[in-house]
Every structure is written in structure tokens, then in C-alpha cells.
């Protein structure tokens, strides 16, 4: 197979606490900063910047103070004028864009890993905007071979970069490392160490790539976001009238077929999946999505073909 020759990657930013109550990332950034103090820049084989994205939300152990930071990085939000009454997160997003970007410019940092936790049983899920960034897809492939304690899956969103609203869209190559299940406001050792291994293996891949290793291409499985489904709600009060059905709870990325149970109402009735097309549910019962009107998302499974890659020699 013909290789794609790609430029070496310069610097990686590891961002935790974009949501202040997703604690594995908060403590991983804390630990990396401790390692840097102890070993200096030699702590890692490549240049790494660590960032606590939303320090005020971290201090209060809340998802956000004024507005969800991970929706503030679209081109429109990053260029909107800031006043004293602007939401804290919008100001902070523009600060991060100056630090790590500017987004869509030649000066933007090469790669951002944005660290997140979910209450959903998603194992390790790597989330990207596009299905054509060979660098990030190769990293996912590498993580899939190296990490065996939990399923490692790839989710693609297929947005235009300018519309992409999350912090990982600031860099030239960016992705989100999402690990679950973990309650918000809690750090579980098993989940923390999975996230740590994902970051360590990402750094490992970049170092190997920059040093000339050839990474074989091939086919890989990915999931593409199609749509979201909300909870059944009371028409007047908008409160939930049902919870995720026990047979769907914790079964992220299974295949949902027509007639399968979706919800069990608080009065005992089952609501079923009525659509023809079998799809894969994920972010099943994510705490932060109740207020966004989402009980779970649905995805199609697809096969991506990626070329062999190696670093461009100067």
C-alpha cells in the first residue's frame, strides 16, 4: 500500500477540566503537572502542554459556571466581542484560542487531546470531527491494539471544522478522549488509569511517528453520529416520565433493533424502538444531557480505510 507522507507533529496539548466535574481529566492534568515539576521537560519524549480548561468550574466541581465551555469554540463564538457581562466560558474559550490557536490558522498547536468522562458505559471512546484525519485515526487504531482492559471505539461527528464547537477543534489535529462510566464529581481509579494509558499511548504514537516508524494502514471500524432521542416527558412540566429501560442501560454500542425496549416509565410501561433501521445507541443515560433533551444518541457503524502513514523527511 502506498504511504501518505505527513509532517512531523510538534506540540501536544492535554486539556482536562473542560467540564469541571469530570474528574479523571482534572486529576490527570494535576499528575502531569507534578511530573513536569519533578522531571522538567524530559517528562515526555515530545513537547507537551497541559491545560486546566475551566478552572472556575473545577474549583466548584460543576460542569460549567455560565455556559457549557465545550460549545464555545465555533468560529462564530470565538470571534464574538467580549464584554464584562459575557459568559465566563466564552471569555475563557477565547483565551484558550489565543494560547493554543488561533483555530484554523498555521500557528495553531498540532494536536489537542480533550479529556472527558461520562456517566454512560462507553469504555474508551475517541471522538473526532471528521473521518479523514489520518493522524488522529492512526492514533485511534494504535490505542485499539494497545489498550485491552476496555473496548476502544471511534466515533466520528462529520462537522465542518468552522462549525465544530468543542475545544479539540482549535488544533490542527484534535480529538476527545471520553471514558466512562464514572459519576460526575467522582474519580474512579480504574477509569483514571484507562485515561492515563490513552494519553501515554498517544504521546508514544506521536514520538514513534516523528522518529520514522511506518504505521500500516487498513480498514477500521467507526461509528458515525446520526441523531439523538429524548426521554418521554410530561407535556406540561417537561419532567421525565420514564427512565432508560434496564435492558438498554449500560449497553452502549449494542445493536438496537425494532421492538427492543428503550424506556421503562415510572408507572411500569415499556416504550420500544419503533424505527426500521437498526442503529447503535451511545451516551445512554449521560447526566449532562438531561437538560439538553437527550436520553441517548444513535450511530451507524461504518468501515473507514486509512492509508499507511509515515513522517515526511526533510
Amino acid at each position: 500500500m502506498a504511504s501518505a507522507f505527513l509532517p512531523a507533529l510538534g506540540r501536544l496539548a492535554v486539556c482536562g477540566g473542560t467540564h469541571g466535574n469530570e474528574l479523571s481529566g482534572v486529576y490527570l492534568v494535576q499528575e502531569m503537572e507534578r511530573q513536569r515539576k519533578e522531571k522538567g521537560d524530559g517528562a515526555w519524549p515530545i513537547p507537551v502542554t497541559t491545560v486546566l480548561s475551566n478552572p472556575r468550574a473545577v474549583k466548584e466541581c460543576r460542569r460549567y459556571i455560565d455556559t457549557d465551555m465545550n460549545r464555545c469554540f465555533s468560529r462564530a463564538m470565538l470571534s464574538s466581542p467580549i464584554t464584562d457581562s459575557s459568559p465566563y466560558e466564552l471569555q475563557r474559550a477565547q483565551e484558550l484560542n489565543n494560547l493554543l490557536g488561533p483555530k484554523e490558522s498555521a500557528d495553531a498547536i498540532d494536536m489537542i487531546c480533550d479529556l472527558h468522562n461520562t456517566t454512560s458505559n462507553m469504555g474508551l471512546t475517541l471522538i473526532h470531527y471528521t473521518s479523514s484525519d489520518w493522524v488522529t485515526l492512526h492514533i485511534c487504531k494504535y490505542l485499539q491494539t494497545k489498550i485491552t482492559k476496555v473496548p476502544v471505539r471511534v466515533l466520528v461527528l462529520d462537522f465542518q471544522i468552522s462549525d465544530a464547537y468543542s475545544s479539540d477543534s482549535v488544533s490542527k489535529h484534535g480529538f476527545t478522549i471520553e471514558v466512562g462510566p464514572q459519576p460526575h464529581g467522582v474519580v474512579r481509579a480504574d477509569i483514571y488509569f484507562i485515561m492515563k494509558e490513552a494519553v501515554d499511548m498517544t504521546i508514544d504514537w506521536i514520538h514513534k511517528f516523528n522518529s520514522g516508524t511506518v504505521f500500516e494502514g487498513g480498514d477500521m471500524e467507526a461509528f458515525k453520529f446520526i441523531k439523538s432521542i429524548d426521554y418521554p416527558r410530561d407535556p406540561e412540566t417537561r419532567t421525565l416520565t420514564a427512565a432508560i429501560h434496564p435492558q438498554l442501560q449500560d449497553r452502549d454500542f449494542c445493536l438496537l433493533k425494532r421492538g427492543d425496549p428503550l424506556f421503562l416509565s415510572f408507572s411500569g410501561e415499556t416504550v420500544k424502538y419503533e424505527e426500521e433501521e437498526p442503529l447503535h445507541p451511545f451516551f445512554i443515560n449521560e447526566c449532562a444531557y438531561y437538560e439538553k433533551g437527550m436520553a441517548f444518541h444513535l450511530a451507524k457503524r461504518l468501515t473507514l480505510t486509512i492509508p499507511t502513514v509515515q513522517v515526511q523527511k526533510h
Binding site: A189, Y192, L240, A243, P246, Q249, L264, F266, S267
Partner: protein, 304 residues
């Protein structure tokens, strides 16, 4: 026992109790003869915002001191509310208080269903526990005791003549899990069934109940300067609530990979392992002693 209260949303993000209260109010389940049941939402503002509390933890506002402190409109919301609830369901310690107060809670810890009280010789609570243990097939049911005198008991359940928190876990805060909701619903129904049977003169045979009495709390290891935690609960301890912890057993795993072990001299039973709300209270887990308590047969006095 003629008056029972079922309270949910004492913490506004513990959702099973909140949805159970809403469901009971929708179905107008109160008023089952021969017992009258009041169902209410303890902290409506916190429920609306889906936060544990707005200004201060409501479930720490029921000591005699807190209930008799002067309050104004500048007082914390929960201090005002606790006095309102005491007027409605109490007054605590008086003859007018509800006979039984069941306060619904969830925890991120893997506790199963626990009845938590400040007394280890309340035969009503102990018999209800025994009844739930017998009837609930798929959920472990345990009795947890905090040895505090009534005046210093700080939780809502201490307002009733008899009372307990019904705590069900694991469930993340801000999330409702169907099986956890169902377990809580079943627990409440069995409790009400027991009360009806008791009121009709049924004799409940004595026996014994294992009681877990809280001995001490253990905090996370913390950085002395920043106070941030430096370790998580060890994977060998995580989710193992009520499994005996021996001296030398792993307790914490630091973020840099070192194991920290339990240094106490006495083997104890850990519970509330890794509860989200306790990080700010400096509690990683609580430790309890277990002992078998003998309970007498009970029967209501139906002579009139």
C-alpha cells in the same frame, strides 16, 4: 402508627426519590387506610436546579440547635426550609411528630439499599429492615446506625418519632437508573405494607438483625498545600461496600501509581465508598463495626 411521611429531594440531585415522590403525588397514593401517608419534596429549589443544595446541606439542618435558631429572610434557604419541615412533620421530639419518617436518598457508592438511623434499638425500624431483607430478592438490604443522641441528630429522618433514610446506590447524582428507582419503589411499598399489617394487629416474630454502627471516617490523601486529593479509592476497595477491610488491605491508589494501605488495627466494614458529595466533607469512606442485635416480637396495641 397513624401518620407516615415519605420525603424525596432532600438532596436535589438524588433523582430516584424525586421521581418516586412525583409518581406518588401523581397517583394520589396517600391516604391508604388505616395509615395516612404524607408525600413531599423536601428541597424544591435544589430539585429545580438539580443540585444537592442551594446554600447549605438540608440534611444537616435538623439538630435541636438548628431547628431553634432564629431565622430571617437572610438566613440560608435550607435553614428556613428545615424549620418549615419541622413544623409540618414534627416538631422533633414532640407528641405531634409523624410516627415514621422515611427520607429517600441515592448514593454513588455501591451500598445496595440501606436504612440509616441514629438509633440501634428502635424496634419499628429494625423490624421494617427485617421485612425488607426477607422480601427483597435481588437487592441487599442493610441497617446502618450513627450513634448520635437525638438532639444532635442532624438529618430529616430524626424529626419523626421513628425514622430512617432509605439510601439506594449506586446511582450517579443527576441520573435516574431504572433498577435503582424500582428498588426504592419496592422498599417504600414493603415499608407501607409492614405498617398496615402492624396496624391491623399482626404479630411480628422477634429475631436478630445485623447492625453496622459507624466508627469513623477516612479522608483522601491530600496535598498539604493545595488540599487537592492525590489518590483515588483503590480498585480492590472500590464498589466493595460492607466487605470486611483488614489492616494492610489496599485503600487508595495514588495518581502516580502507589498503593496506600489501611493502617487501622481493627478490621472494620467500609461503606459510602467514593460518594461524590463527601469529597467536600473530607470523607473517602466510612468504617463500621457489625454486631448482631436481638429484637423482640412486636404487635400493635389494638385494644380500644
Amino acid at each position: 402508627m397513624s401518620r407516615v411521611a415519605v420525603c424525596g429531594g432532600t438532596h436535589g440531585n438524588e433523582l430516584s426519590g424525586i421521581y418516586l415522590v412525583r409518581e406518588r403525588l401523581k397517583r394520589r397514593e396517600d391516604g391508604i387506610e388505616p395509615v395516612s401517608v404524607v408525600t413531599l419534596m423536601s428541597n424544591p429549589r435544589a430539585v429545580q436546579l438539580c443540585v444537592r443544595y442551594v446554600e447549605t446541606d438540608l440534611n444537616r439542618c435538623f439538630t435541636r440547635a438548628a431547628l431553634s435558631a432564629p431565622v430571617s429572610e437572610h438566613s440560608p434557604y435550607e435553614m428556613i426550609r428545615s424549620q418549615e419541615l419541622n413544623a409540618l412533620l414534627g416538631p422533633k421530639g414532640s407528641a405531634q411528630a409523624v410516627d415514621l419518617l422515611c427520607d429517600l436518598h441515592n448514593t454513588t457508592a455501591n451500598t445496595g439499599l440501606c436504612l440509616i438511623t441514629h438509633s440501634d434499638r428502635d424496634w419499628i425500624c429494625l423490624h421494617i429492615c427485617k421485612h425488607l431483607q426477607r422480601e427483597m430478592a435481588s437487592t441487599p438490604v442493610r441497617y446502618v446506625h450513627f450513634d448520635i443522641p437525638l438532639d444532635e441528630a442532624y438529618s430529616l429522618d430524626s424529626v419523626g418519632k421513628h425514622g430512617f433514610a432509605m439510601e439506594v446506590g449506586p446511582q450517579p447524582h443527576g441520573v435516574v437508573r431504572s433498577v435503582i428507582f424500582s428498588a426504592m419503589q419496592e422498599g417504600v411499598q414493603l415499608m407501607l405494607d409492614w405498617i398496615c399489617q402492624f396496624n391491623s394487629g399482626t404479630l411480628f416474630e422477634g429475631g436478630s438483625v445485623d447492625v453496622f454502627t459507624m466508627v469513623k471516617n477516612i479522608d483522601y490523601p491530600r496535598d498539604p498545600r493545595t488540599h487537592m486529593i492525590t489518590a483515588a479509592v483503590h480498585p480492590d476497595l472500590q464498589d466493595r461496600d460492607f466487605c470486611l477491610l483488614h489492616p494492610g488491605d489496599p485503600m487508595f491508589l495514588s495518581f502516580s501509581g502507589e498503593t496506600l494501605r489501611y493502617k487501622g488495627k481493627e478490621a472494620l466494614y467500609p461503606f459510602f465508598i467514593n460518594e461524590a458529595a463527601y469529597y467536600e466533607k473530607g470523607v473517602a469512606l466510612s468504617l463500621a463495626r457489625k454486631r448482631r442485635v436481638e429484637i423482640p416480637s412486636v404487635r400493635s396495641d389494638t385494644r380500644r
